[in-house]
Symmetry: C2
């Protein structure tokens, strides 16, 4: 399956913003150009071949994307439409020669952000409606800038009319299509009449009953046509980095800071793996301070531990923003986290014992170490069941909370109390999990 992406327009309304020097497809949004985001979102749906129609400042766009192409990991055919000012329907038609005859394709706009699950579902559904083009639509109430939107009138779920200016409408065009080659025929017909907009061809397909609509069910999409909508999209995407499974500390402290850091990091060349390693090194540094035992060092160690916890969120965030998430990255991250946990607690035990002596810190510390580990182990043992939404109803003593307790304990110079608290909370939660697992497993069997 190929995707055709329209990237020929000028993006007039962006010319007021800070990105006015850039052609629209190259406007940066959290580390990627709009065009790259469109490509990578489609790649997530299994599309690896692209036809990109360029027009306005085409050389610049082509040069920029060719540099990035290897990193994108997809094949791109650039098609130039020198008459781009006539209308976007002409740009679609220009893509015809880059496709095989009678080849279906996805049609996307470079300046439309979308949740990739929409495209995934569109592709799956469109296969069952062979021969018909399918247009993604949203409910009008979900659309920010209705005035500028292309509206659609439906009758019994079938499109009846389309246009920016129609008065009665039930839906809004999201700018994502599944097209058969008949779309080209419709375009040709309309262009022959001097109608150069894609919506003209869509109107023509509607008239011939060759178009269906697919309601995206309220999922996120956005036409990035103004500096304001760019800002909105940025906030929205950053917000989406919060996970429903985030622990309390993660939600109210770590994530708020890490999101801000991530928004800056994405503009650098730092990779998620490098960030993972930075977080690990900070945890080691924290442990080194804990080893020294004295209160002033504990404070430094505590800050470093909490900082490491925050940075530990950035690797995944950067990976998600740049479409770089891999199972392997998550695996390595989890391994380093466990080593960091162990070494941190050991540092605390040892530093305390050097100054105060006594056996109790060792025993309590051992159980804090075992308990911390067992929280992660029980979770891994059942494929993350305890950290799924709804599965984490127990004592909130995951890594975000553990490192937070360590910081507070270090600040207050209460290492023994802190270790005792960790030991009790983690092991209690493990016991709870053992019992709740019985219910979970039994339920799944019935």
């Amino acid at each position: 399956m190929k995707a055709v992406i329209l990237a020929a327009g000028k993006g007039e309304r962006h010319s007021q913003g800070k990105d006015k020097s850039k052609p629209k497809p190259l406007i940066p949004l959290l580390g990627l150009s709009l065009l790259e985001r469109a490509i990578l979102s489609a790649k997530e749906c299994g599309i690896y071949d692209f036809v990109i129609v360029v027009g306005y400042r085409s050389e610049e766009v082509i040069r920029y994307e060719k540099e990035k192409q290897k990193r994108l990991g997809v094949n791109i055919d650039f098609v130039e439409n020198v008459e781009w000012e006539k209308g976007n329907g002409l740009s679609v038609l220009k893509a015809r020669d880059a496709l095989k005859e009678k080849e279906d394709f996805a049609l996307l706009m470079c300046d439309h952000l979308f949740d990739s699950s929409i495209l995934k579902e569109l592709l799956a559904k469109a296969k069952n409606r062979k021969g018909k083009c399918v247009l993604c639509v949203d409910k009008p109430e979900n659309v920010f800038d209705l005035e500028d939107a292309t509206k659609i009138l439906l009758e019994r779920n079938k499109p009846k009319a389309i246009g920016k200016g129609i008065e009665n409408y039930d839906a809004v065009d999201c700018g994502m299509f599944y097209c058969t080659s008949e779309m080209f025929d419709a375009l040709e017909e309309e262009i022959g009449k001097g109608k150069y907009e894609l919506s003209d061809a869509v109107q023509c397909s509607i008239a011939c009953d060759k178009l269906e609509v697919f309601d995206i069910g309220g999922r996120f999409w956005r036409d990035i046509d103004t500096p304001e909508s760019l800002e909105y999209a940025k906030r929205r995407i950053l917000k989406s980095l919060e996970k429903p499974t985030d622990g309390i500390i993660s939600k109210y402290i770590n994530r708020r800071i890490s999101k801000r850091l991530t928004a800056r990091i994405v503009n650098t060349n730092l990779t998620p793996t490098q960030i993972t390693i930075m977080s690990f090194i900070m945890a080691l540094a924290s442990a080194a301070f804990f080893f020294l035992g004295e209160h002033k060092y504990l404070i430094v160690g505590g800050i470093l531990a909490q900082a490491s916890s925050i940075i530990d969120g950035c690797d995944g965030e950067v990976a998600r923003l740049k479409f770089l998430t891999t199972d392997y990255g998550a695996f390595v991250d989890s391994i380093l986290d466990r080593y960091a946990d162990g070494i941190l607690i050991f540092g605390l035990i040892f530093g305390y014992w050097m100054l105060q002596g006594g056996i109790s810190v060792w025993i309590i510390g051992l159980f804090a170490l075992l308990g911390s580990f067992m929280i992660s182990y029980t979770n891994a043992r059942y494929e993350g069941v305890f950290e799924k939404p709804g599965g984490g109803r127990g004592i909130p003593i995951r890594r975000d909370m553990r490192l937070f307790i360590i910081m507070i304990g270090a600040f207050l110079n209460l290492v023994l109390v802190m270790l005792l608290l960790l030991a009790i909370l983690t092991n209690l939660e493990v016991v709870r999990r053992v019992f709740s697992m019985k219910r979970i497993i039994t339920k799944n069997k019935v």
Copy 2:
């Protein structure tokens, strides 16, 4: 789906063995009667309703199984065939009234052991051959007592003749059938002619082209018709407790001892959970001796650690022999194993440090503890991928080996060397796994 199990015969040939006082269905084999094994094997294939045809000493059989029924977790209808001596075809026919009209059923012999995957596959395949009965067959070369076996002549994979005495044959009847109600019609017809054996009705079905065969592909089954075959089956089942994933120490030492223990434990009322807890308590006792630090205590602790490791195999073995394996049992076992690992290593560190002092034992011990944990964690993190056959090609440093190294180190009074060895081997293996995981994940994606 219901299963009819024939348990009416006398089992003449068993009357020489030590179980001569028992009717054949009640002959014990590793903690379960033959009839219970047949029921539980079928239950593993999703069959929960049974019609059991009893005859010889029927009251005894019914009384015994009714006592056990609740534990078996299935529904049983007992049907009595007072004329059991006439032939087993009559016993099958007696089951008719306990089934619905036109109901398909599985037909099994109480004295035939079988790998439950055979029945599972038979049920799946038979659904595609609607209307035909299917008989499981094995190749003659796999059959121990050919003389007594019911042989089958095939022609282009279709049965042509059946009988104990036929001279040309290609396959042997395993005594497992998928039957449609037409089997009853065939039985009625043959019995009307005075032919009371099941094989007579099968011959009749063959003549009408209403029977197909299913080659069990060399999997395990066995007709337990003599004390010798009972002994053989016992050895064979015990052997099957060895896992292809067993580590070196497990394979050559632990499993050999645990199998012998298990063969005795199954005749008691000890549950797998109780054995899991016993193993855990032995590990705690071992750690208590290690805490004391002196060589003589280390020796006791080392023996206890290894004993705990061996007993740790028995819980799973007993569970498998008695059809009691649950995911939950495996989960609890793994949790207790991790706690035991941690406490054992801590005992070693502490005992050594009490006598010798010094910081090195703490640091080395920490890495031994972390490494041991990480071996289990990396495995759990990827759903057992590293302990699957073929996945465990790294350093053999799983729990069996770790506890063995601990015992040897304790015997030799070389705690520091032992901990260092554990620390190096486990963490090296974790590093190897991190790199090999990259390959595994990448391969799975392509």
